[in-house]
Amino acid sequence: MQNNTSQATSFIIIDTPLKLKLADILIIILASYLCFWLYSHFLFTSDSQGKANRVLIQINHKAPLEYPLNQNKILSIHGDKGLSLIEIKQGKARFIHSPCRNQFCVFHGWLSAPEETSACLPNRVSITLKGSLNTFDAIAGEQ
């Protein structure tokens, strides 16, 4: 038993009261690598997601209206509370006016990537950009 414990100490790298071992160091390295990979793969990707080519506008849970994004146009949408103005400009879309109090949808700014969503909840209007179907990756899948 005494021999075993002396063998065990030879694999301890940092001999503090915490005793960080070789396997711990490996796990910490792998975990930080996983973090970096996730950041580079999910958060800081701009071009790999593809371009959005149409916008879906949903009003009060009705079937969404679909508009292509390759145009310059200002749509006026009658929602629950009043008039929402939605601007479409060459691959981007945004709210430019909304009757609600918080104006979250207007401050959200331009939407350009597929699956980006902006919504005015009081007015019950939401816009979602959609890319072509082949820009979905294996994880996202089709909905």
């Binding site: 063998q7 065990a8 910490i28 994880i139």
Partner: protein
Amino acid sequence: MKQQFISTQEDHKIALLAALAITIHIFESAIPSPLPGIKPGLANVVTLFAFIQYGWQSALQISLLRVIISSLLLGTFLSPTFLLSLSGALLSLFAITLVQLPFYLHWPQKVLKLLSLSSTPTNQQAYQPSAIGYAIIASISHMAGQFFMAWYFFIPHPGLFKLLPILITFAVILGIVSGIITQFLINQYQQSSDL
């Protein structure tokens, strides 16, 4: 016919640790979190302690008891919160058991023997990660289990994946913290049991 139930020392241990885990879980649910899904996970310290000291069977009993009883007490039994908690607990336990498996099968010793580096048999504790390593794996897999449960059943929107890196980063940090706590607990326990 009179039925007799004889409780063993092992049952007492599990009941004690499960009660401790439930208490911590309920206290922890009162702490507000900055982001949905981020929790200190201090209740997993108890599960991890049981896993390292008594093996995965005891840890499984304790974590199942903790999830079910604390959800009954908090009033979230069979709700989405309960399902997320259960999937996270089961996946984290599965992951750490999977990590421990090679050490129980003496794979490091066999590899070293093949490379003729070491021929003296050592105990399996020598190569195993400490509580910190297990805690990191447990918290990452707990978060991953919860996340995929949430994504698959409740919010199937690809935008949810933008939250995944942040959640996993917090899981690693909080896993290290809970691992340090567990290691201190185990050191204390082993010192006190040596006496």
